[in-house]
């Protein structure tokens, strides 16, 4: 009995020695700031008192202020609209490209790899490239649309709310498609071939095979791609900040850019912290579902 206890204690110490450095880092750099952020949102921290102290506890006043400010509702609506359109396009496009590149033809793996590149490109560069392409005067998109006679006058893409939103959505889709494509292509390669052969013998059409076999078998991967896609899109910051700065007006302002503006343009740190907390709570609703998926997979893997 004492030897097992001793062994167990030795094991615990060993475990701690491996995990403690990272754990201390996480406590100092992530957990403490999360709680500190909550504390800031219940005080009145601004440029005058953030360094020297002297801010006061104001209870729920900051939350009352931001919920009364129509900009919060506008930003929430924009965040949802942005996320909705991005997922609506990037998922089917990524799926279609994944289907294409999971066929066996010469060069398929290489082409699939090359199409992965946009996902790795820093958001600020993506924003720069698309701001150039959507430029009203010399942008390639206006030129293409005029030469195809789809539009007669150049569109001032970033000068109007709806077209500015469309522009940031397109840029984000470009970065998001490879992510959907690679995850779905990987899942497609694991599908059992004999099921398809049996379906072909039974006379199932390609459309039937897709909806009756591919979609049901791919459901876990699709769920994971959509949840992660939602999380990454919902918290987007760099792209919007660089391409439109949240404008024109507040037409592309999302929750993370609003939090940044409150804290670092208006130096109202408490309001910035409060908006960031609202964003985090909303993200965690979907986030907890994702964590549930991860835990489920963990259990299935160890069950094998």
């Amino acid at each position: 009995m004492t030897t097992t206890n001793k062994l167990r204690r030795r094991n615990t110490l060993l475990f701690l020695s491996f995990v403690l450095p990272a754990a201390i880092y996480m406590v100092l750099m992530v957990i403490f700031p999360i709680f500190y952020n909550i504390a800031i949102s219940f005080k009145n921290v601004d440029l005058m008192n953030f360094a020297r102290g002297g801010s006061e506890f104001v209870g729920l006043q900051v939350y009352k202020d931001i919920f009364e400010d129509p900009i919060l509702g506008t930003s929430l609506k924009n965040t949802l609209v942005f996320t909705f359109w991005c997922l609506l396009f990037q998922f089917p496009i990524g799926f279609a490209i994944a289907m294409l590149f999971s066929r066996s033809f010469p060069g398929a793996p290489a082409l699939r790899g090359i199409n992965f590149i946009p996902w790795m490109i820093p958001m600020v560069a993506v924003a720069g490239i698309f701001k150039y392409m959507f430029n009203a005067d010399i942008g390639i998109i206006n030129r293409l649309l005029t030469s195809l006679h789809i539009i007669s006058e150049p569109i001032q893409w970033l000068a109007y709310g709806d077209t500015a939103m469309a522009s940031v959505v397109v840029a984000n889709i470009w970065k998001g498609v490879p992510f959907n494509m690679i995850l779905l292509a990987t899942a497609l390669t694991t599908l059992p071939e004999d099921v398809y052969e049996a379906a072909i013998i039974d006379g199932a059409s390609p459309v039937q095979r897709f909806f009756r076999i591919t979609v049901p078998l791919l459901k876990p991967a699709m769920l994971s791609v959509l949840t992660l896609g939602f999380i990454y899109t919902f918290k987007v910051f760099d792209l919007i900040y660089v391409m439109t700065g949240g404008g024109p007006g507040a037409s592309t302002e999302v929750l993370s850019s609003l939090a940044y503006r409150f804290s670092f343009t208006e130096y109202n740190f408490s309001e910035g912290a409060a908006v960031a907390n609202v964003l985090f709570v909303l993200l965690m609703i979907v986030g907890l579902f994702y964590i549930h998926l991860v835990n489920k997979e963990d259990r299935e893997r160890s069950g094998k």
Binding site: F18, A22, L111, A125, F179, F264, L293
Partner: protein, 281 residues
């Protein structure tokens, strides 16, 4: 298989190949457009740039920024920040991932939960507290501050990737080393770490890419121009240079180039990094 069927299959392969190349050209067109714009003569982008540049010039790549500094000195700042972040990440994430991948106790699931939450957390959540704390600690305008902040993204990501690699190592391998008389730390360093090298390369390259591309922490924590990183300079230049698109696209190319080079050599590891970092189903 009949000859007719084989021919049909061959034809469909050719069609797929043509389709695949067409999709790739269309999808990667923005990158072509960026590079081809960056190679144009100064001022030539005021008028509609042609599909192919008339002459190739590297003027935009050697131009100094508004502050009279070469773009390549900001490149070096980015190198310092991303290398520092990656070293910090590697040192902290590998042992932690090993611990939560191999040990079984009550705290493991809590620790995994914290890393998963951290992976999903928006940067803006910790931005205000970090700015306030770092101001008091003198870590504003300090590359160390940016490294510590960037690691809030790279450490959770690396731990989550690496734990699956450590988890998949057969128990016998570890036990054999322990029976041979190797201590637990020697086993970890000489057996476990070398065996998981594909995961470690993946974690290192993902950390390099993520910290290389960070803008929000540099934007908030670096106000001194000489310390700024490349993504931040690209952003600032977009406001200052306005329509000098050949220069802006040269900056964008310089930001992207190291990533393309890494991709050429480490494609396999980078793709598995994405798939290992999420639920495969």
């Amino acid at each position: 298989m009949s000859i007719a069927m084989k021919q049909k299959q061959k034809a469909s392969r050719v069609i797929y190949l043509i389709l695949g190349i067409a999709v790739t050209c269309l999808f990667l067109f923005p990158l072509y457009w960026m590079v081809s714009t960056s190679l144009r003569a100064p001022g030539s982008t005021f008028i509609n740039p042609s599909f192919f540049p008339e002459s190739i010039q590297f003027t935009a790549y050697v131009l100094e920024t508004e502050n009279g500094v070469s773009i390549w000195s900001y490149f070096m700042n980015s190198v310092v920040v991303s290398l520092g972040t990656t070293i910090l990440t590697t040192i902290l994430a590998i042992p932690a991932a090993y611990a939560i991948g191999r040990f079984r106790n009550k705290t493991v699931s809590t620790i995994i939960f914290i890393f998963l939450v951290a992976q999903m957390m928006p940067s803006s959540l910790i931005l205000t507290p970090l700015f306030v704390t770092f101001s008091n600690l003198g870590l504003i305008n300090n590359h160390l501050g940016v490294m510590l902040a960037d690691a809030t993204i790279t450490i959770p990501f690396s731990v989550i990737i690496l734990r699956t690699y450590f988890k998949d190592i057969p128990k016998e391998l570890e036990e054999a080393a322990l029976i041979d008389g190797a201590g637990p730390y020697a086993t970890f360093l000489r057996i476990m770490v070398p065996v998981t090298y594909p995961g470690i390369i993946t974690a290192i390259s993902m950390s390099l890419i993520m910290s290389w591309g960070d803008m929000v922490f540099s934007l908030t924590l670096l106000t001194k121009d000489s310390l700024r990183t490349l993504p931040l300079i690209l952003y600032k230049a977009m406001g200052e240079l306005g329509v000098r698109w050949e220069v802006l696209m040269a900056y964008a190319t310089i930001v992207i180039l190291p990533i393309i080079i890494m991709f050429v050599f480490l494609q396999r590891f980078l793709i598995s990094g994405l798939t290992a970092g999420s639920v495969k189903g």
